[in-house]
Symmetry: C2
Subunit: 215 residues, 2 copies
């Protein structure tokens, strides 16, 4: 009963990813099954494997779209030249998104490619673009410093936020604790540190990797 003209390859791709997202929304990444996806879109497993290399591939594309969506939201934040305010808004945006799509967002970091399988370039690029927004917001405060340094601080904030949402997503926050609260305090404190910190004392900041000391 092949039905080649029911849907184009692109349409099928959309159907599959949308169906996957819906499953993940309900059941989490753990509940995602190839057979269920196929059933939901009215095709068989074989077709699914004609569209995607394997489930990992499908998940990467689903997560990639999640990053796209977050990117789109964050792009709506108009940057002033006030890093405090800009970052506050970006954080709001970020956390609103993760709160509205908790399971889908969790899937982004819950999923791990098998050993020795590299993260596709197109995926890394999506992450880079998100980082670039933070960099632009952070830049005014670091006008005197190198691009590398700005980049590093942006990444630190990004990773920190990331850590919060990971722990929030796995239910590790405490009673009355919100990632929004935590993130606000982080941003505020970190920016204070950037503003007021001893700029001279950065002797070993650039490039001393490798020599991780023993405890």
């Amino acid at each position: 009963m092949a039905r080649r003209s029911d849907h184009t390859r692109k349409e099928l791709w959309r159907l599959a990813i949308d169906a996957s997202r819906k499953i993940v929304e309900k059941e989490g990444l753990r509940g995602l099954r190839a057979r269920q996806i196929a059933r939901d879109i009215g095709y068989t497993i074989g077709t699914l494997y004609n569209l995607f290399e394997d489930l990992d591939d499908l998940i990467m594309h689903m997560n990639g779209e999640t990053l796209d969506q977050l990117m789109e939201e964050c792009s709506k934040v108009e940057l002033t030249q006030n890093p405090n305010m800009d970052l506050e808004r970006l954080v709001h945006c970020y956390l609103s998104f993760t709160h509205e799509n908790p399971k889908v967002w969790n899937a982004v970091f819950e999923h791990k490619l098998p050993e020795n399988r590299p993260v596709p370039e197109w995926y890394s690029e999506k992450v880079s673009k998100l980082l670039h927004i933070i960099e632009r917001a952070l830049a005014p405060i670091l006008s005197g410093r190198s691009d590398d340094e700005i980049h590093q601080h942006a990444r630190i904030l990004w990773m920190s936020l990331f850590g919060m949402t990971v722990l929030e997503g796995s239910g590790r926050l405490q009673e009355g604790e919100t990632s929004l609260m935590l993130a606000r305090t982080l941003i505020k404190t970190y920016i204070d540190g950037l503003k007021n910190g001893p700029q001279g004392d950065t002797s070993d900041q650039p490039m001393n990797h490798g020599d991780v000391a023993k405890c």
Copy 2:
């Protein structure tokens, strides 16, 4: 061929967890199979399921022991009253551990309990103990502030570090970028922010959860 007196329950428990750790060290959490564990310890699956509720239970215990080990390492760090130095040392300790046991450490956050299955209390307690070390190191700098606030800052730093190691573990760091570098910069900047930050402007810090603003 039941061999009740070959090993006590506790010995079997040890064997199983040690075998699991060895598998994870080599293959990562993805490669952990009940049958393989059973084979490695010279028993059958049935026995494994007599020891643990299910694989999730076993993994939780394995990860719990990983937290214990990290705790033990961090406990060796003698705290001076210099937060900068103390945290630097703790971070070294933390990152040394994660670098020496990358896959085992990854398993701690890669694993997720099924929906609606709460994190066991004994597990959360292990995390709390680790946090408490950071709190103690951070306390001198925040002598004037409430315990809650100290606690919050400690948790923020913990979660931030966590985020870095997660991303490092999944190979998302850049060329020439080390979590040690990033963590150092984070700690330094954050502590600067705590020292020099506008202490009066903490109006909305305690308790305003719930109202996550729209983007």
